[in-house]
Amino acid sequence: MATNETTFADQFPKSARLTRLSFGVAFTALAIGGLFGLIQALHRTDIYRVLPSPDYYTLLTGHGVLLALVFTTFFIAGLFSWGISNSLDRDLPGDWISWSWWIMMTVGTVMAALAIIGALIPQIPMQADVLFTFYVPLKGHPVFYIGVVLLLVGSWVAGYDWFRTFWSWRKDNRGERIPLQTFMVLITMLMWYLSTMGVAAEVLIFVLPWSLGLVSQIDPLITRTLFWFFGHPVVYFWLLPAYLAWYTVLPKLSGGRLFSDPLARVVFVLFLLLSTPVGYHHQYIDPGISEGFKFVAMTNTMFLLLPSFLTAFTVVASIEHGARQRGGKGYLSWLRSLPWDEPAFTGMALAGLLFAAGGFSGMVNAGMNLNYLVHNTLWVPGHFHLTVGTAAALTFMAVSYWLVPQLTGKKLRLRAFALIQPYVWFLGMTLMSNAMHRGGLIGLPRRTAEPEWNLPGGSFSEGIGSLNEIQLQIAVGGILLFTGIVLFLAVMVATWMGRETPTIDVDSTIPPALSGAENSPRILDNYRLWFAIAVVLVVIAYGVPLWDMVADGVFSPGSNPVTP
């Protein structure tokens, strides 16, 4: 590297390379998935249709898989590789094991993508119009399920790569506290190992043999329960890396220091414990599950709000500390002295703001009987475009503005694009998500190519303003969001393809927290204990219901496969 300052890429070349490659696949998936999202937004709102409505569901599957599974998992793999090396001051081994997880994940992604696109291209004899939740009895091509399994197993090996780097650090640093970023990576991966048992069992035991024809009938209730055993923790698998950026990078960008390191550790341990025994809040209105288990899931879910509330407090306090150090005054006017012209800071701050709104709509979803009001309506996409669509995705883009120069040794190009991108995203998302929430309240179903109201007899009470106003607002929001993706990708490609620069104009040092780890109980770092407690909680929440479902025959009441 020609730069005269030592960047992360100089210190840890193997880790930097793996992070760059992971970001590369993540941004490609973001581009394709984002394009699908734009086509869907314009199709659904009847503004501009390029495909017949039945093909909408192919795009919807692609949008879900490429963004919610591929973009997130690959970006997290890159961010965690950086986090481990940055906080342990130690490069990844970079041997064949390190390469194996990236290759496995990439091959899996290509397989799944081909199976999905196959529905549009006659030459490819595959289809997987089953959406990213692949509910049985709808059946996709086996290649789709194998692709998803490879992506999953690849992420397990990546976790092992980080753990063995930590263990080798531990041998040289007996008795020291685990550095915060590494602690966050390890706890997140423990949650990931525990929760992916559900979807691995679903696909390997039930769905894959069934799609290959080895088993004729499987029980949709068991497969759906196993999917949602994994389905909620996966949203925390997307969220906790964003929390890692909010806890460890955002305070520095705002000119301050993290308010409390121990509180951050407590928050991550709470997520490990509570994020898996809650899956039934996705199945509140499923038949075959008694209200008692749904009530347990609701209570656990509501207490899962606590770590997010604590995060809101700690992160905002850290930002305020930065504002005060930059001369901010008063109860609220300190907000003005924050670096709103710094894209990395703006992206994360706006992502946090929209996450607060997404949090509320999540509380409505989590309210057991309140869920009758909004289940499977447009309210739900409104919710998760605020949480994974902004809290995670916009934070990932924002941290890239700060991290990619360090990974490539090249100054960020097109800074003006980068400066306005978070604002374009924020405006587009507020418009789209607001309209989606209102559409959900008047009963518009989600996952439909054509909103029902232009069917004869299809009738929806006039929501606030007219239905056309809701449709228009979704379309405008969708266009702004796609513009945000194009701006972001333009900055990334221009930076990556640009020539190396003497300075990368990024201050990569991270100051220590205001109250450090040293004055927190050592038990916090005992991740084996927390993992054991998490397993016990899951057995309590899922043990009996899963046993009931299996007791009446593992595969019964069975359903034959139906190709969409």
Binding site: S53, R415, A416, L419, Y423, N434, R438, P456, A494
Partner: protein, 194 residues
């Protein structure tokens, strides 16, 4: 420099004017202020209107807004008369869209000629929800007085669309020659089966 208006293609490196010197620093500050006002102001207005609208929705008619709201059965349902204008009975006996290779609509009508000889019924073109017109021509031919027959026809609809109206033409023998009665009849929800 107003960024974001041109769809910056991902590969070309548009040489954005790097901010040089204090002059542009000042208009950058104004540009930033404008962006922040727009990007934060509009959402606040939208959310405010939403909440006022939501509450208003419930205050002026307390719940009637989301009470019964279905249109009362517009469109001819199975078992109803297709062409009330004629005194003959044309009862819609089947309406079905089958999705296999394509989307094919099947309609069946039980015709009962209560009038004089020479009555005939014809099913013409069909229009779908988004206005596509599909030609079709199925006729009973001249019927004897008091005769009954069942007329059915199929139409190949564009993929993903269902029929909303069908052109129905009846030739009714009258004292001074046959008259034709032609209507574009709206159909109730046509069930679609996989």
């Amino acid at each position: 420099m107003v960024p974001g208006t041109d769809e910056g293609s991902k590969t070309d490196e548009t040489a954005a004017t790097e901010d040089a010197g204090a002059g542009s620093w000042l208009n950058r500050r104004l540009l930033l202020r404008l962006i922040i006002v727009l990007a934060v102001g509009i959402p606040i207005v939208v959310e405010g209107l939403t909440f006022i609208g939501l509450v208003g929705e419930h205050i002026d008619d307390d719940g009637a807004a989301n009470g019964p709201n279905g249109a009362d059965g517009d469109g001819v349902e199975i078992g109803e008369d297709l062409l009330p204008a004629t005194d003959q009975r044309e009862t819609l006996s089947a309406a079905q869209v089958v999705v296999s290779e394509g989307w094919t609509l099947t309609l069946a009508v039980d015709v009962n000629n209560t009038g004089a000889d020479g009555y005939s019924l014809r099913l013409g073109e069909v229009t779908t929800g988004s206005g596509a017109v599909v030609a079709g021509d199925h006729a009973t031919g001249a019927m004897a007085a008091g005769g009954t027959t069942s007329l059915s026809g199929t139409w190949d609809l564009p993929e993903g669309q269902i029929a909303e109206t069908v052109r129905v033409t009846a030739t009714v023998p009258g004292p001074d020659g046959p008259q034709t009665v032609s209507r574009e009849v709206r159909l109730a929800r046509v069930p679609v089966s996989g």
